[in-house]
Point group: C2
Chain length 411, copies 2
């Protein structure tokens, strides 16, 4: 039996945190489920903070998802309150009430509208959120917030995560240096009773709501929508971005503004780095799998093919067993439902092509691929030979550790 509390072999260190102007944050122990560590996180933003977000596509979303979607249409944020240990999902009317009450309490402390308080919950499904534990803890938590609370915040939102996840960047908009700093949690694309993918990215840049939303929506495609641990989509997935404007750059209203190009790239990199950290903490993983798809009819199709390969239990177990079983990659491409032609399909591992245009290469040697498969970072190359659609997907292998964690977890 694997030690299910051991840290991922691909764990990433925390960055050197930089205070983000206009953001104060911290964590405290509300004892919602975990009795031995902080489980309640709060961020407070200066007036004028714009917000953008994307949410789970689940048809059974949690109450905080409903709450945030409604608030997001107004475009302003003053606070974020996140608890771990209870997802507030499938809790009926009580779930909606819990969000209203929590937001109202936070709003009173800050003197803002409830609709400016964003909420997220991650943990067990189907149990009523003990709202009073949260509202009791909020006043002291609020009065303890500082600009330095980043590590505490990153740790408080963890559930089955084996390491806290954060990315920090500085970049110029025009002549103004601005900071982008984000935290995330997730250790499986989801394990809906205790884990969920959450990411919160802040910046002190001045960016209009619409421009920020455009940036988040486009960046999510090549970051959080391009990773998978186990193909299971949470009821609570959420990415929120907050721009306080405290850096006082010339306000960005158009994402295509040339002075915004460096920021755009840094923001997208931040999203992608956080996303890959979640995969690197994939439940039970021993290897990160990076899949490059080219030659698809378009990038959407290429991404779906990459995800079909990344989600295939047979590909995942082959990689875990360090078996150069490329036929399973062909199988997964074929089952994706996307346009593919057996006779123009090429497949490689570790940068070495194995089969081109529907047949194994003459003189194919397995030794260099075997060597590559012994490493922690396995790459797969797929060329469909149909068009210019390309995508990169990150996944992980399927191991005994995954079965241990998820077969024995809740009880």
């Amino acid at each position: 039996m694997a030690n299910i509390t051991s840290v991922s072999p691909l764990a990433c260190p925390l960055p050197s945190f930089i205070p983000v102007k206009g953001v104060r944050l911290g964590a405290s122990a509300a004892q919602i489920k975990y009795m031995d560590r902080p489980d309640l996180m709060m961020m407070v933003f200066d007036k004028g903070t714009s917000v953008a977000g994307v949410f789970t596509k689940s048809r059974c979303p949690g109450a905080p998802i409903d709450w945030c979607k409604a608030c997001l249409s107004l475009g302003n944020a003053r606070a974020l309150v996140v608890n771990s240990g209870n997802a507030n999902v499938f809790t009926g009317r009580a779930g909606a009430q819990a969000t209203q009450v929590t937001a109202a309490h936070a709003a009173r402390l800050i003197s803002c509208a409830s609709s400016e308080v964003f909420l997220a919950s991650t943990g067990v499904i189907g149990e009523i959120l003990p709202t009073q534990k949260i509202t009791d803890a909020l006043p002291n938590l609020f009065s303890s917030l500082t600009a330095e609370g980043w590590e505490d915040a990153a740790r408080a939102i963890m559930t089955t995560d084996t390491f806290p996840k954060a990315v920090s960047r500085q970049v110029k908009i025009g002549d103004t240096m601005v900071t982008i700093q984000g935290i995330a949690k997730g250790s499986g694309m989801v394990a809906p009773d205790m884990a969920t993918m959450l990411a919160f990215i802040t910046t002190d840049a001045r960016i209009g709501h619409d421009a920020l939303q455009t940036l988040v929506s486009s960046s999510v495609e090549t970051s959080f929508n391009s990773i998978t641990v186990d193909s299971d989509t949470s009821t609570s997935d959420m990415v929120l971005a907050f721009a306080t404007g405290a850096a006082a750059n010339d306000k960005i209203r158009d994402v295509n503004d040339p002075s915004f190009a460096d920021f755009r790239r840094a923001f997208t990199d931040t999203m992608q780095e956080l996303a890959i950290m979640i995969v690197k903490d994939g439940e039970g993983l021993s290897k990160l799998i990076e899949i490059d798809v080219s030659g698809g009819v378009d990038s959407h199709s290429a991404r779906r093919i990459g995800l079909a390969v990344a989600n295939s239990p047979l590909v995942k177990t082959a990689i875990s067993g360090e078996d150069a079983n490329w036929g399973r990659i062909v199988m997964a491409v074929g089952k994706s439902g996307e346009p593919a032609n057996r006779d123009t399909l090429s497949v490689g591992i570790g940068g070495h092509w194995i089969a081109r245009n529907g047949m194994i290469l003459a003189g194919y040697e397995e030794a260099p691929i075997q060597k590559h498969l012994h490493g922690r970072h396995v790459t797969i190359q797929i060329d469909l030979g149909l068009g210019n659609g390309a995508a990169r997907i990150w996944g992980c292998d399927l191991t005994h550790g995954y079965v241990d964690i998820n077969g024995s977890y809740r009880s």
Copy 2:
């Protein structure tokens, strides 16, 4: 480490085989890959045998799939030749040639057209099929065929299967007693380097090609298209039905013919029983999972929801761990992409409702569900509360055995 050669705990015994009038069959050892057992199976049918089939939807199908699809449009069958150990998939022009040569050799022995010879291959992907081993073995195999070769045939098509799979039925059409007898292999919906889902059903009933095709196509929805082991779809899946007509009943041309009702039911039952046997041999399984979905907007939607639950690694590991983790069922319903409403959704296990209309039941007790989960046959109930769409899906749990078999198999 699990013993990967042990027989499934849910293995089914072979039935008492009945000779099917108009069918002779047998098996021999062509030593394509397995050196220690028969790996080549042949059935020969009397003149006038009609044939119907359904095939994998993979975009990268094997050469025998292409061959059978082309032959099927002609509607007549005189022979079926199946090898195990090599799938003849992703083998380019050589793969197509192998099918032509094999069919031509069989046709010469039988004195029929090549297009009346159906072919299937199951085994490793990407290796050239050693056609000559097959054509060398065919003459002796052909001369050894008998009406009693059913068990040999069922065993010769196995790959990672741990038990041979067959179903036998007798039923009347009008006053004529007819026999339906089928064999299948599969031990995962697929493990494309060695396993594939194949099923061959024969009957001595006289049924027109179109009626037989209609029957196969409709029965496949509630049988082979309603099972899953690991969500991976083979490049070689194939269900073929052969009706020799030797029972000399009044020929059935319309599946809605009232005298055909009993046969229809028996045929559909045969398909379903064979399909469930494949799940019962699911790689590494410890439990069969039967999912009843009701209240969907239509039966197609209900089936997709049932498959999303059956394919969820988190549901499968929870069942393997005997954990009544019903939140994961909610999650899987939500991610299916099908119409679902959190507030009308009900979920149960083992016939006990746990949550109704979006909330856990007052006074919910876990003890009877725990008891049910200790068994080999776990049932899940899902009511969507939206319409009359219903479906039943069969899957299995995800265990260490699956990781062992597929992580260490090819090498």
